[in-house]
């Protein structure tokens, strides 16, 4: 039997250079907004799960600073070093297992580097990514998250499976769409995307995810506790998780959608989605380069989905808050469900600590309430 679990509140804050708040103050602001949205008080929360990394937060055991701000004070608390969607699944386990009735999940990506311009954030994220790769085989030869995306895109273009002009056009459309929502980049044309500085050939800077700083929080609840909340946002009808192969395994390059397909199979089976392209109203993808989009869509069995239903928020090329991305995709999906007055939506989230290599993919199926 699928456990009866809900998102009952959420908050998102994209963080810019104008903030005067310390990291924990930002987390408090966002988590208290999510609790207000949920109509839930801190003392009802039994479990606080955070997604963050010391190397972004510039502090050893940085969740020591942020846990009390994330409603973790005197609570069961845990920090996951992966995309915030993994933290969300851990919280769901606590609810499904009956340990708690309410849980909060916080995703934190506010690099402590003095300035939060896109290039500065990406530079740190890539720096940390290089430290995440194996110290003896991969790091010395320059492997980073972006390099895996460049390798993949180059291979697809060389094989005739992708065209640079199409990637530029798709990227421009997404960035422009996102500019009207939570996007951090202004609207652009395909020509501007193509003419942007080359980042990891063949991908230009604008084809890479729009690196940003942000904090997100969602409040989750089980069963009646959730349904008694003033504004339950969505029922979490299905979820699945899988981790992609490591560097030496050719699978990450040959079939980067494979882990997505494994996660999707579990999530759809749980949610009873048998004709997803007809049943799904919107999908938010973590397709880290435009050359990946089609492969991820196929892996989600959503080839037939109408274009306007895909990445309505603009996706990761409109706003990509690193390790907190999974929560932003959930928050955007909650908006999609509200716009659609309900229905079924899919969230695809994957961490990019090592880009396509050994990335953990989570697929969620949300139903409007």
């Amino acid at each position: 039997m699928t456990p009866d679990l809900y998102v009952v509140g959420s908050a998102w804050r994209t963080v810019g250079d104008d903030t005067d708040l310390q990291l924990d103050e930002l987390v408090f602001e966002c988590c208290s907004a999510a609790l207000r949205d949920a109509g839930v008080r801190r003392h009802q929360i039994g479990l606080a799960i955070t997604s963050s990394l010391d190397l972004y937060d510039a502090r050893s055991i940085s969740n020591a600073l942020t846990a009390p701000a994330a409603a973790g004070y005197l609570n069961d608390e845990l920090r996951v070093e992966g995309d915030a969607s993994a933290a969300l699944l851990v919280a769901l386990a606590g609810l499904a297992g009956g340990a708690v009735d309410f849980a909060i999940v916080a995703g934190i990506h506010v690099p402590e580097i003095g300035g939060l311009a896109e290039r500065a954030v990406r530079r740190l994220d890539q720096h940390v990514s290089s430290y995440t790769f194996d110290a003896h085989l991969d790091r010395p030869v320059g492997m980073t998250s972006s390099v895996t995306l460049g390798l993949h895109a180059a291979e697809r273009i060389d094989a005739g499976q992708a065209r640079f002009e199409e990637l530029a056009a798709a990227t421009a459309a997404e960035i422009t769409r996102g500019a009207a929502r939570r996007g951090t980049r202004p609207a652009v044309t395909a020509a501007e995307v193509a003419a942007a500085p080359m980042a990891v050939a063949p991908l230009t800077e604008l084809m890479l995810p729009a690196a940003s700083a942000g904090v997100g929080a969602v409040v989750l609840a089980a069963g009646v506790s959730a349904r008694r909340c003033p504004r339950p946002r969505a029922r979490i009808a299905g979820w699945g998780s899988a981790t992609a192969p490591a560097t030496a395994n050719p699978g990450w390059l040959a079939d980067p959608g494979a882990a997505t397909a494994v996660a999707r199979t579990r999530a759809y089976a749980m949610a009873g989605l048998d004709h997803p392209a007809e049943q799904v109203g919107s999908v938010e993808l973590t397709d880290l380069s435009p050359a990946l989009s089609a492969e991820i869509r196929s892996a989600l069995d959503l080839d037939g989905l109408d274009a306007p239903r895909i990445n309505r928020s603009g996706g990761v090329r409109a706003n990509y808050p690193g390790i907190a991305n999974g929560l932003l995709r959930v928050v955007e999906t909650l908006d999609n469900l509200a716009d659609d007055h309900g229905g079924v939506a899919v969230v695809h989230a994957a961490d990019d600590l090592c880009g396509l290599v050994s990335s953990t993919v989570n697929v969620l199926v949300l139903e409007g309430v």
Partner: protein
């Protein structure tokens, strides 16, 4: 399918100093995993999720789970869950495995606790960065100094003597003599042990830096219970607690205040009414020996200030009716995340009747604890019970 979570397999590697360790981190973790799988009678192809702990900044690679997981020979696409909560990382691994199994998200979870401390050239310098930056780190507060605050206050409040602490440290080293996976034993020279580090802590009361890995197979009772060929250890309570950030939030350093709160929750969950009589064996996280007294009290195993008397009466020694840290504890062996999971691992083997150290005959229920973070901000508790299948 939702079910009780049981520890079915435990894999230790022999502890040594990082300098003498000949295996790489990946090799050591693989060895611990192989032993845990064999002990559980479990095929690695059946693992659903692997949870791997690390402590950022202590290792050559950030999020060490990324580089360790591929070395474990697990099936393609096995979900990898990296956890880091500082000094409680290891304690969280079995607790989180239990959460996934109780929720029905997984049936067989592998917990991998690596040898965290093998990397840094100057480990102490790295550990010292754990004290709160900006506010408390500039005040000369490293790990051992944070650790000294508590026994200093405890001594003052309850009139506990340095000799009581030394007796405790000696008891643990004698226990470690019987644990083949221990690092420091009673071979430690008395002169070395007596050197003052930070009052009232002397070197013999402070843990060594060890190298070693531990892995656990945690599974759904109805799935893995019958395969192990030995009794398994059901996780009947899995709790953690998080205090405020700065050391100054502790208020009263003469006790681990928040452990009392966590213990109440753990006992409620496991239906423990009288902890003093209901536990057969206890392992408490004691990188600084005096913590054992303070934790016994916060866990309600004796009145506040009463722990030294239990030691003097022999109650907490081997053969007593509440043996504490028969493994020798963290005071004798501390390989980082592997050290943090070790209380659970040792209790599990006691309940299986296959103790790593001296066996408590007929042990049915045990308590395991870990702690860490700045000024012991975080704690975990795990209650385990023997299940015969």
């Amino acid at each position: 399918m939702r079910d009780h979570a049981v520890i079915a397999g435990v894999g230790f590697t022999e502890a040594t100093s990082p300098r003498r360790q000949e295996l790489s981190k990946n090799e050591l973790c693989r060895l611990a995993v192989d032993r845990a799988l064999e002990h559980a009678g479990c095929d690695r192809r059946d693992i659903d999720v692997v949870i791997i702990g690390d402590i950022a900044g202590f290792e050559a690679s950030s999020v060490a789970a990324r580089t360790i997981a591929p070395a474990l020979g697990l099936p393609p696409y096995t979900t990898v869950l990296p956890i880091c909560t500082g000094g409680t990382t290891g304690g969280h691994l079995p607790n989180q495995a239990a959460a996934l199994i109780r929720a029905g998200f997984a049936q067989r979870v592998l917990c991998v606790a690596p040898n965290t401390f093998d990397g840094p050239v100057d480990l102490q310098a790295v550990i010292n960065t754990n004290s709160p930056m900006v506010m408390e780190q500039p005040l000369g507060m490293g790990a051992v100094h944070m650790g000294a605050f508590f026994p200093a206050a405890y001594q003052e409040r309850y009139g506990v003597t340095d000799a009581d602490f030394e007796l405790l440290a000696t008891k643990n080293r004698e226990n470690a003599d019987h644990n083949p996976f221990a690092h420091v034993t009673s071979a430690l020279s008395a002169e070395h042990a007596a050197r003052m580090v930070s009052t009232p802590l002397r070197l013999g009361m402070v843990c060594p830096v060890s190298s070693g890995a531990i892995a656990l197979v945690v599974g759904a009772e109805s799935v893995v219970g019958g395969q192990a060929g030995h009794p398994v250890a059901r996780i009947t309570a899995a709790q953690s607690i998080s205090d405020g950030y700065l050391g100054g939030k502790r208020r009263d350093f003469s006790t681990f205040e928040v452990v009392e709160v966590m213990a109440r929750r753990a006992y409620r969950e496991a239906q423990v009414v009288d902890p003093r009589s209901e536990f057969d064996v206890v392992e408490l996280f004691n990188p600084y020996a005096p913590m054992e007294f303070m934790l016994m009290e916060a866990f309600g195993l004796c009145p506040y200030g009463g722990a030294p008397e239990l030691l003097r009466k022999g109650v907490t020694r081997y053969g007593g009716d509440l043996p504490v840290n028969l493994s020798g504890g963290i005071q004798c062996t501390n390989p980082g995340v592997a050290g943090q999971i070790s209380p659970v691992a040792h209790i599990a083997t006691q309940l299986m009747g296959q103790a790593t150290a001296r066996q408590v005959e007929g042990a049915r229920r045990g308590l395991a604890h870990s702690t860490g973070g700045t000024f012991f901000q975080f704690h975990t508790a795990t209650v385990l019970e023997r299940v015969d299948l």
